[in-house]
């Protein structure tokens, strides 16, 4: 198994150890978030399909396919992040998904839709609402962690954090 960044040792410094631990924490945290978010949706795909429908973005043809595949994608990405395997691919798809989630919430906010995000549970509560700003803040925080991982994985020599396993 190849170890990226191992051939190029970063300059020693006080921040290197801290940065390494922060990235390790971000990796584990995002991995756990992805796995946790996937469980309820994997168990209840039909309920999650209603959530996808409520976003009013995808055509009917893609709603159930998304509801069936997306939770497994989250589960796989989360597991790979936790295990530290296939890091370039896991970090890339993780960031792509986080960016997509963030953009989706932003898009629905911009057009005045106030919906239950269904991010961590498959079921939706029709009476819930008014949380869009919170969703945006939370997804933005996850995205920042994801971008940190991206930077550390693809630019280890510049970030000063070495050795993300591939």
């Amino acid at each position: 198994m190849e170890v990226f960044g191992a051939a190029r040792k970063p300059a020693p410094g006080k921040g290197r150890g801290l940065g390494k631990w922060l990235s390790f924490g971000a990796r584990l945290f995002l991995g756990l978030v992805f796995v946790y978010a996937s469980i309820d949706k994997i168990l209840h795909p039909a309920a999650f399909a209603e959530t996808v429908y409520n976003y009013q973005i995808l055509p009917n043809l893609l709603i159930n396919v998304t509801a069936i595949v997306l939770p497994w994608l989250e589960f796989l990405i989360g597991s790979l992040l936790i295990l530290g395997l296939w890091m370039p691919g896991a970090v890339f798809t993780c960031n792509a998904l986080l960016l997509l989630f963030f953009a989706t919430v932003l898009f629905n906010m911009a057009r005045g839709l106030d919906i239950d995000c269904g991010c961590f549970t498959a079921s939706t509560d029709p009476s819930s609402g008014g949380h869009m700003l919170w969703y945006l803040f939370r997804d933005g925080f996850f995205l920042l962690l994801g971008l940190n991982l991206f930077y550390v994985t693809f630019f280890p020599s510049r970030s000063g954090v070495a050795a993300m396993q591939a």
């Binding site: 990226f4 190029r8 994997i42 209840h44 795909p45 039909a46 309920a47 399909a49 209603e50 429908y53 009917n60 043809l61 709603i63 159930n64 396919v65 509801a67 069936i68 595949v69 939770p71 497994w72 994608l73 589960f75 796989l76 990405i77 790979l80 296939w86 370039p88 691919g89 896991a90 970090v91 890339f92 798809t93 792509a96 498959a122 079921s123 939706t124 029709p126 009476s127 994985t153 693809f154 630019f155 020599s157 510049r158 591939a166």
Partner: protein
């Protein structure tokens, strides 16, 4: 500036470029593999599980609120109670299944908008299209029962009613209730 000091930097940048290109290719190929693996897992599990979800979403149009279905869709508890006593209607509980398990109208079935796609297939063979169906939930707006009534009307059930302030008034009038899980549809059937 000495050449010795500059050259390593140039080599470093080239090395960075090569290394990052290699990593991007690796990232893209791994991403494709992750997508394919997730798709294969998802399809396999969905085909294997008992309550599999169809690949095409079945809702034909957006849910209609009960108010858009006309005034005759509403039924009061006073009107519904004799139908219940004479077993002339199927009662469907549209509240979340956790609330249903705690307590529900005796003999009522649990069917929510969220579980509609998987549960409707089981239900439709047991309840004839001409049967009277009374849907209820809690709260004044009856959002859940209205949504469910809309779905049933779309599926060809022409005799669907929404119980006004259903669960709350049913409880207040001390009409029969029971606790427990969904009874089998055969047991719960009431002659229409």
């Amino acid at each position: 500036m000495k050449l010795d000091n500059v050259m390593p930097q140039i080599f470093d940048q080239k090395g960075d470029f090569r290394s990052n290109s290699r990593k991007m290719v690796s990232a893209l190929s791994q991403s494709l593999a992750i997508l394919l693996l997730a798709g294969a897992l998802a399809v396999t599990v969905n085909l294997w599980r008992p309550a599999s979800v169809p690949f095409h979403y079945q809702r034909a149009q957006k849910i209609q609120p009960a108010s858009a279905m006309g005034e005759d869709v509403w039924i009061s508890v006073e009107e519904a109670a004799p139908l219940f006593a004479r077993k002339k209607a199927f009662f469907i509980d549209a509240r979340p299944s956790s609330l249903y398990r705690q307590e529900h109208i005796s003999g009522a079935l649990s069917l929510t908008v969220e579980s509609f796609q998987t549960s409707f297939e089981k239900m439709k063979g047991k309840i004839p299209p001409e049967a009277m169906i009374i849907v209820y939930c809690d709260g004044r707006a009856s959002e859940r029962s209205s949504a469910l009534a809309g779905e049933l009307l779309l599926r060809g059930y022409g005799n669907v009613r929404v119980l006004e302030r259903g669960w709350d008034l049913w409880l207040a009038q001390e009409l029969p209730i029971e606790a427990g899980d969904n009874p089998s549809l055969a047991e719960a059937g009431r002659s229409s």
